[in-house]
Symmetry: C2
Subunit: 227 residues, 2 copies
């Protein structure tokens, strides 16, 4: 079991607070109450006050939070006031989409190394970075001092890739593979596998038989199922 | 606040249990203790027993769980014993990667409708589905009885897209946009935005200045930063 002073669920909410505050700041809003902030984010005011209380005192009773100050404080807490280099392993459809994802650069995450197994892709250039073979993961990650890795390979290779990234010094992993990664206690993983996410959403759905799919579909569903 | 008998965090673990049990079943393992299962998944045996206790009695004292039975029970609880149609809105790099994601089909999620704003993409065919314009979202989703939507558009359009999907009858959303979606109480959202995930991971990392990036990078970092 990991021990950390502040619950991870609180840490996971902070980027949403920071993002909402930034939008407010860009709209020239100077101060906001926890009630208004909660309304925008979809959490209660009490939740916001409780979450922020882990990090000190923000805002004044009856005056609310100073938007720009709270935003920069949260960014500082999350270490977002700097650029972070990221290593991407996997360069299929998903890996290529990740390498070109504009929001990373907007938020100062830079894909600084890309690794692919396919020999045709090795040596290709993406965003100023040359695609390297998987054998180089640990040494390149170590050489560049990269602390963040993205696992965008099939489930069968995911643990091996994670091991190589961690061996090189990575301590934070974004995992797109439908595979639970075994990592040391000082390594943090965020699961972003869409299949697992969908598989938990269906719990909440009406379990009626799917209607036949026709609009926009060129082949009958029977033929599609045979693919 | 949503009210539901079973905590969502439990529901989110169930697909991982099901997946692990399926792998065991494929390896001809017939029964397993909660300790062994927990070891494979990275949770405690007590956690597994507590999670499963929400759904009834599984396994026998001292005999462990029957792997195939527990797997099919969890699949039934999650409504995974059927095909689910999914509507995808957004057909940029990310949307195209999602449309071609092999794991969806392997797990009986079928991209049954795709929507794009770009006129060049409308009318294109992907996996037997024709890309349609965004004005059609609500009507097509309704016509096809689709309950699951994937939001793969920029943050600015995400709420509008979610509204259209929900108007058409979608009750479960996978959200790739860095934008908190406001949804009715009977709609469930899973956030899979990688930027937010990265922004919470950096909290745990050493906040040392990034080292200069050289290996595999063709331009000096200064030039890259100007992009």
């Amino acid at each position: 079991m990991r021990r950390h002073e502040i619950p991870d669920v609180v840490i996971r909410r902070l980027p949403i607070y920071a993002r909402t505050l930034r939008a407010l700041s860009e709209s020239q809003v100077q101060s906001i109450s926890s009630e208004e902030l909660g309304e925008r984010i979809g959490v209660t005011a009490a939740q916001i006050r409780r979450d922020l209380s882990f990090f000190g005192k923000f805002g004044k009773q009856g005056k609310g939070y100073h938007v720009a100050t709270l935003e920069s404080e949260i960014a500082r807490i999350l270490h977002l006031d700097r650029r972070w280099d990221v290593a991407l392993v996997g360069y299929g459809h998903l890996g290529r989409a990740i390498a070109r994802y504009p929001a990373f650069e907007q938020h100062a995450f830079q894909i600084a190394a890309v690794f692919a197994r396919n020999p045709d892709q090795i040596g290709q250039e993406v965003g100023g970075v040359v695609v390297l073979p998987p054998e180089c993961v640990a040494s390149v990650v170590n050489e560049l001092g990269i602390q963040i890795g993205i696992v965008a390979v099939p489930a069968e290779s995911a643990q091996e890739v994670a091991n190589a990234l961690i061996a090189g010094g990575v301590r934070a992993l974004l995992n797109y593979a439908p595979q639970v990664l075994k990592v040391p206690d000082d390594v943090w993983v965020r699961e972003v596998d869409p299949t697992t996410a969908l598989q938990s959403l269906t719990y909440y759905l009406d379990d009626e038989p799917a209607r036949p799919t026709t609009i926009g579909r060129q082949h009958p569903p029977e033929a599609a199922d045979d693919r």
